[in-house]
Symmetry: C2
Subunit: 299 residues, 2 copies
Amino acid sequence: MEKISKEEIADWFRGLQNSICTSLEKLDGRSTFKEDKWIRQQGGGGRSRVIKNGHLIEKGGVNFSAVSGPTPDKILQALNLSETDFFATGVSIVLHPNNPWVPIIHMNVRYFEMSNGVWWFGGGIDLTPHVVIPEKAKTFHQLLKSTCDKHDPSFYIKFKEWADDYFFIKHRDETRGIGGIFFDRLTESGGKSKEEYWNFVNDVGETFIPAYTDAVDELRDKAYSEEDKKWQKIRRGRYVEFNLVHDKGTKFGLDTNGRTESILMSLPPEANWEYDHVPETVLQKETLEFLKKGIDWIE
Amino acid sequence: MEKISKEEIADWFRGLQNSICTSLEKLDGRSTFKEDKWIRQQGGGGRSRVIKNGHLIEKGGVNFSAVSGPTPDKILQALNLSETDFFATGVSIVLHPNNPWVPIIHMNVRYFEMSNGVWWFGGGIDLTPHVVIPEKAKTFHQLLKSTCDKHDPSFYIKFKEWADDYFFIKHRDETRGIGGIFFDRLTESGGKSKEEYWNFVNDVGETFIPAYTDAVDELRDKAYSEEDKKWQKIRRGRYVEFNLVHDKGTKFGLDTNGRTESILMSLPPEANWEYDHVPETVLQKETLEFLKKGIDWIE
């Protein structure tokens, strides 16, 4: 059997972007995506799709890209390689809701290969509630676990821990949210074939809509106060801090002259900073207690 | 004559913080500074002073610190040195105004020395107007030039160019604002004595209040529209991007476990991001044209 090709992978990601956008428009019920097609000078391009002022989603993006060309020096250095060509394709999503009870969600699924034969998959889904509701965190993690368990009993624990470590705001000593799963450099040395990892990445991509549908359920129309909204903007500030200071994907994109508007679609519509802000309500205080590594949400 | 000591330098900076806060409270006319004293576990500490919801200033900080201890590894590596102790002291200011016609201002003056005898001064003042008004930019640069010219005819050109290079948002291909002056590692090898550089840094510190007073003059009460306010929040987003992605001072502070709330006092009260935002008015469009390196504001 022929191994799956980079063209087939990119095609599948393109289809995933389509189906997720269709589902999100239905879920939102008001706004639709606007598309920007872009071409990368050194090779490839993408389709950025953004949505704003929706009923559910205040600002969001569902981006597809498939880029190629000489491998950026930063990667060559990191891998201790000399000149190669590369191909990278994937789908990235960040959704900022209107309602502060609804979490911010992020998903990324990606494939990378080089002309020297090296290839890998990466990705993950994670949730950043402005206010953590443990029962909702539990069903989110359960869903991710059941996706992982279909492929390998070790995946969930490993990738959940990886998310805790990755989505960590070191200068605040807090996690970005309640985590989820994160994985990178999945390749044959990990013990599975390319097809097996690809099937797993497919399943992760298809878990996004059920996971988000559940995450917003019973919260999207929940009443909120001015105080809740203020807290949301402070938490969005932390999201900005993570993405601009710590996120390796953002840093890599900006360092390698990626398309700035597509990379920074992850930033919220509005974020606030207040010197030494302290939580004002019990739920806000509890939320900070939940922003720690190593919490077992499922037990 | 004895060389000026680190204690004398720190004392002068403490006094500068006091006098600037007093002047700013007078200029603001409504709010006053709140002080947080903090102690650094490894040595030294600081006095963070913040002001908010003023008549002129929506959010601002005037921070003094004098810290000491083993030199952070990042500095040792950069200088290719083995273990030493260090002492660093300085005053940092960022003021975000209410009125979008009024620029954001930043100043820093600092002194650094190590137990091996190495020492240097650094600092600068720069302006980030939300809307660039060339005549105001001119008087700002003229004032900085006259401060520089009192000490060396080469300073202004050199330090103005340094500011253009330093306050550059690479991923946006635009400068943060209209620049000003920036300098670092001023030490004897630069051709002047410690006293001479110290006198220059004193003069820079004392230029802050006249520079800001002029920068806000005739603008602080200028009427503005909702559109102007929206533009201000977009520009504040760019300020956040510079400070979190590119600013070496911020990065160094966060990397070396500095006091997060004091470092991030530079962030605006409220910043917005809109996908692919384009300027809506002539003045906004012109502003983007002015955010370039190498503009001679004085000629």
